[in-house]
């Protein structure tokens, strides 16, 4: 006598809840992606080999310096003397702040040096020179 299985196990995966799962994934990706907040100035970044990644996008503030010597922070143009006040406020709001300096490759060092001094006065000491990756 053949033994029959009492319960039949269905072999197909239930697909009825599939759209819900996919929508959940979709919403997760839409919520977690941080869109670019500020557009900045058109700059051509210099190239470097020994680069490191910035750890957190949320604790990063950008300073754009164009080749004409314009300084832009959070999409507003500032003079050099004003940088310390602006950066001081940003630094006070976020103690883990890293400043990302997006300077054009033909910007002058006189201006960069002034920015260094302003950042020191604003106590924003963690600095990152934003660069492109150079091919070795």
């Amino acid at each position: 006598m053949k033994v029959h299985r009492k319960t039949k196990v269905s072999s197909d995966i239930p697909t009825a809840s599939m759209p819900d799962i996919i929508f959940m994934l979709l919403i997760f990706f839409m919520v977690t992606t941080v869109l670019r907040e500020y557009s900045g100035l058109p700059v051509e970044l210099p190239k470097a080999k020994r680069i490191e990644k910035l750890k957190s996008k949320r604790h990063t503030s950008h300073i754009w310096i164009s080749k004409e010597g314009l300084i832009s922070i959070q999409d507003k143009l500032h003079s050099v003397e004003n940088v310390r006040h602006v950066m001081y406020d940003i630094r006070a709001a976020d103690p883990l702040l890293t400043v990302s300096l997006k300077a054009d490759k033909s910007a002058k060092m006189g201006l960069i040096s002034n920015i260094h001094n302003e950042l020191r006065k604003a106590d924003a000491l963690k600095l990152n020179y934003s660069t492109k990756t150079a091919v070795e």
Binding site: F23, F29, P46, L54, A103, K108, I112
Partner: protein
């Protein structure tokens, strides 16, 4: 003969819903550019934190306005800096490299020098103020 309707009146077909959602998901995955910021990291000294350093422990690195580099009094090509610094650090591990650029030096020349210093694993870098 009456044609048989595929769906009952007022019902939306849900079989292709998953495909549509997948397409949307893939569209968002592809279009979101995760442009990670990358660059050369340094930590500036705090305001009023000047310390005196022995003269032997300082190596001056001067960059002029046309991007030529003078390292410890000798002219050097930018790509040879890391090798030389590496040797100097091996001789004296307390060595501080003081980078000083001219006011009109291009930022890219300065970055090239900083990159070389990073390549030589120089931890003690000082950026001199331009006077």
């Amino acid at each position: 003969m009456k044609k048989k309707r595929r769906f009952k009146r007022g019902e939306i077909p849900t079989a292709s819903m998953a495909d549509i959602a997948f397409l949307l998901l893939i569209f968002f995955l592809v279009t979101t550019t995760i442009d990670m910021d990358k660059g050369l990291g340094i930590v500036l000294p705090a305001e009023g934190e000047e310390i005196e350093i022995k003269k032997d422990n300082i190596l001056n690195c001067l960059i002029n306005s046309s991007g030529n580099v003078l390292l410890g009094g000798e002219s050097i090509k930018t790509k040879d800096i890391s090798k030389k610094i590496r040797r100097k650090i091996a001789e004296n591990d307390k060595l501080i490299i003081s980078v000083k650029a001219h006011e009109k030096t291009k930022y890219s020349d300065y970055i090239a020098v900083m990159d070389q210093l990073k390549m030589a694993n120089a931890k003690r870098i000082s950026i001199a103020e331009i006077d």
